[in-house]
Symmetry: C2
Subunit: 350 residues, 2 copies
């Protein structure tokens, strides 16, 4: 996928340079209510020819109404096939703005400027765009890579610590599927009191892992399954918490899910016990624990089975590891092993 990744905290000059290369006929900046004043205005100062399009903030506005709003404003304000779009915001903005750009006049060029760690590490790279429809997440969308992604840590200082922790769980996942060295380096960094200048090089290395996976498998047919590490139990924890009306951030659930997947990796493929314990301590220190009991196991298993639609009764398909960087895709795990792993998970995190 031909996508330019620019890692810098001097975001505005990087964007100006891109605009100078693209020479768009008209330039739009897609923001939400939060990023319009905080980020959009500073881009507008540097690129006064641009027009800001502001949509509602949050996942509930990731819908057809917002997409239509973007299309309408582009169409009514001089949008052509040679226009360009800058998406400045979290994953919601890069997803929906990317979709609008990819379909306006059958596609105009766009740049993503993620303003959250989760957005930087996950949503802004890889070409998945879309919006929620009919009550379903990302029901409508397209595979359309941004022309360029400008990745910085400069917008993170105003984020709630929960958001940073959430994004960091995805970074740990990328470390685990990449190498022991990267994994250990990530656990040596204290995300709860994060030094944002030190975070940028870690983020750079990390995003390149995702980029590599996506380049090899743009349409999610093989290697991209690696990115599911931690997510089968993670989604189960998320659904379980939501069902109790005590929702947890996605990244917290993924952090817990990573511990469960490493336990399963240890049981099934001999994943090193030392590395499992290192992760469990880090997760316990920064993400606390969901406090499950064995009464919750049937429900959690049910969610995992539902997450993997083609799972057979009695076993569920996981992405596991024999060691950091050594993938075991499509590992079938019997229900008994999952229950055993949940027991160990409680021992390690409570």
């Amino acid at each position: 996928m031909d996508q330019q990744l620019i890692f810098t905290n001097d975001t505005i000059p990087a964007i100006q340079k891109w605009v100078a290369t693209v020479k768009p006929s008209t330039l739009f900046i897609v923001c939400d209510e939060n990023t319009a004043s905080r980020v959009g205005e500073s881009i507008l100062t540097a690129l006064p020819q641009a027009q800001i399009i502001t949509i509602g903030a949050g996942d509930k506005h990731k819908d057809l109404v917002s997409v239509s709003q973007i299309w309408e404003q582009m169409s009514a304000n001089g949008g052509t096939r040679r226009s360009a779009v800058i998406n400045a915001g979290g994953g919601m903005i890069t997803d929906i703005g990317g979709f609008a750009a990819a379909t306006f006049k059958r596609g105009v060029r766009f740049l993503n400027l993620p303003t959250t760690l989760l957005g930087a590490v996950d949503a802004a790279v890889g070409g998945k765009t879309g919006f929620n429809f009919n009550g379903l997440k990302n029901e409508i969308g397209a595979f359309a890579p941004a022309d360029a992604v400008v990745i910085s840590t400069r917008y993170f200082s105003t984020l709630p610590s929960e958001e940073l922790l959430s994004g960091y769980a995805e970074m740990i996942k990328h470390g685990l599927i990449s190498s022991r060295e990267m994994f250990i380096q990530l656990l040596d960094f204290n995300i709860s009191h994060a030094d944002l200048d030190r975070l940028l090089p870690l983020l750079e290395e990390n995003v390149m892992v995702k980029k590599h996976v996506v380049d090899v498998d743009p349409k999610e047919q093989g290697l991209r399954k690696a990115l599911n590490l931690g997510h089968t139990p993670g989604h189960a924890f998320e659904a379980w918490a939501l069902h109790r009306e005590r929702p947890v951030p996605h990244g917290y659930a993924v952090a817990w899910g990573l511990v469960v997947d490493l336990i399963l990796s240890h049981l099934r493929w001999g994943f090193p016990s030392e590395d499992l314990h290192l992760l469990a301590s880090y997760v316990k220190a920064h993400y606390a624990t969901p406090c499950i009991t064995c009464d919750d196991y049937p429900e959690l298993l049910e969610y995992m089975r539902h997450d993997k639609k083609n799972a057979r009764v009695g076993e569920i398909n996981f992405t596991l590891l024999a060691a950091p960087g050594d993938l075991r895709l499509d590992s079938l795990v019997p229900d008994d092993d999952i229950r055993a792993a949940l027991d160990i998970f409680r021992d390690l995190t409570e």
Copy 2:
């Protein structure tokens, strides 16, 4: 572009074979009010697992409401990433159904079954999908090739002769950009009293011309401009007629536009006079004439300039030919030559 083209009047077995290969989890047939009973039902008889989605007929329904209707019905009736869609109708259905399929769950496989000549020769091949938005034609869309296109002449017998003539003008255009042999062969066929069995092999050869152009230049950056032959004056005739509240079918305007473009080709690049006269006679016999006077020239020139947004005052950019099959893309023509060509056009067709 990896697109399977199947030329046959045994359409149903061809569709069945495709479905057997794709093995979709659910199968949808997108039709309009006209093709649902005439074509959709016959597919449903052969493939009873399918579900028909019917939208309003005509260009006025090529809108976001219809796209949402298709998305909603797919989403509510078991649509997954492994679903497939059959678009059965004219260019409007293959455009809008193609877009809905290309964006549902970030893209499912789809087959086009064009039921009009214009749709077969033009819209169904080449990957352009989309719908009208904000009063603009195809304002929103995507480049997304159908998995397969089943091309037949069997649905044409119930079409008004106007529609056949309209599609045939595009076929003549493809003949002209391809070779003298193909061009002459097309003029030897009487489209006003068409033998549909004889039309199929002509159509096959013809669609392959468009497929070649699109394969070489999928995103309209170079060779695809060849397909604009006849269209700069054609769009002007269309707008001129509409302005007088006497609209003409698109293909009629293209037929007239082809004559104008061959006159310009003769004046500018020495296009053979004999071939120009052959085309003019055919167009006069089958498409009559727009009956313009020299008072209409300023308006027609204005439309042509508007059609080419980057035209400079005093000259307009055309796709021309030095001979059938010998393209001269981006030919700049002074306004005086266009006026002279319109004089000759009136002489040849009135």
